[in-house]
């Protein structure tokens, strides 16, 4: 039991470290990567919690986390790749850097 609680606290600490990457990360892709890492950590916390209380039905929440979490990440990635590409083309065309709102 102590191992499970210790691993849970370890996961929380790791999430805080990934949050540092989200806040500081130089490019937007580092941030998206850190979102994915935090999602997996949250899933593992839920699984450990269900394991401590010995209840199999709590694992349904973990499954829906894994299944629906990736859709948001992929959507943000697609949107941002298109946007970055367009901005780079515009900068090349005009020969100067455009003011970046995003």
């Amino acid at each position: 039991m102590a191992v499970l609680w210790g691993t849970m606290w370890c996961m929380v600490a790791l999430s805080v470290l990934y949050l540092l990457v989200v806040v500081k990360g130089p490019s937007i892709w580092d941030r998206l990567l850190a979102i994915n890492l935090i999602a997996v950590k949250v899933t593992i916390i839920i699984i450990l919690f269900a394991s401590i209380y010995e209840s199999a039905f709590l694992l349904d929440a973990a499954i829906i986390y894994t299944l629906s979490g990736f859709i948001g990440t992929i959507f943000i990635a697609l949107f941002f790749s298109k946007k970055e590409k367009k901005q780079k083309q515009d900068e090349k065309k005009e020969g100067k850097s455009i003011w970046r709102v995003y």
Partner: protein, 316 residues
Amino acid sequence: MIYAILVLWIFLAAIIIPERRGIRIIIYFAIFSLVTALSFFLLGSPDVAMAEAAISTFSTIFFVICFEKHFRLKADGEGDPEKKEVSKAAAAKKYVLPLLLIVPLFALFIFFRPGPEVSTYLKDLYITRFAQDVGGVNAVTSIYLAYRVYDTLFEALVLVIAIVAVSHMSAFKEMTVPDGEHSDIERDGLAVFTIRIIAPILLLFGVYLVMNGHISPGGGFQGGVAVAAFFICRYMIYNIYDMPVKKIIRLEEVLFMTAVAIAVFGVFLGAGTFVPLEYLRLYQESYLILMNILIGLKVACACIVLFYRFVAIERR
């Protein structure tokens, strides 16, 4: 444990306030939804956590589409806007004046918050009696399908009204488009192959949540949103422009009317009054499963229509 997560939660809510760049707001919002769902789970309510985890996907996608639209329109609207220098007095007026309003309100709320004595009469009643009154194992599903079924029905009505409002507020009047933007990973063979494996699992899991709502966490709302998330996967690898949207809206209205009829029928034919005792269990279980399926299909239809509206029509 819960306090560590809640401190993280406060930090994530506070970090959005000074942020000016849209994509970072979306990213912080996504993590905020994740942490919120985790703390719901740790507070002992997996049903709400599942609903939040599934629905935050949809709201994230809506925000992404909103930012994309804003970016494009602004790009061809104003040329290159200069970052305006605001004077110190204007900034102080903008940031300090709300603070002067907020802090007294906050103090009032802290001062007059309800005391620690919480009445547990209703909780004890529901927990001890729901198994024989309604049947089922999941107390939450039993409450929102039997004791509080009219709340649930009005919530379903709100979704219908939301679809009407969305199509009324929009700049476009048409409900369907023949073709539009496709997603980028359609030509990426590896991703298409993998999502083809995942998407049926998602659909199957949504159906499992709906059908098993009365004996495990889940139910109509969560399962319906998971079924609707299947159609996001379909958009990513194929397209959604061949979907019969008008038929889906019609189906949603019919499902809503059926749910209302069954709820009224269930109230007037109350369990145990007319049904013989040996069939009571069967009656209760079939009522729960039927209502879950109806509400799940209804929520799935509503989410699909909203997603179609945003991706196909508002995005043009």
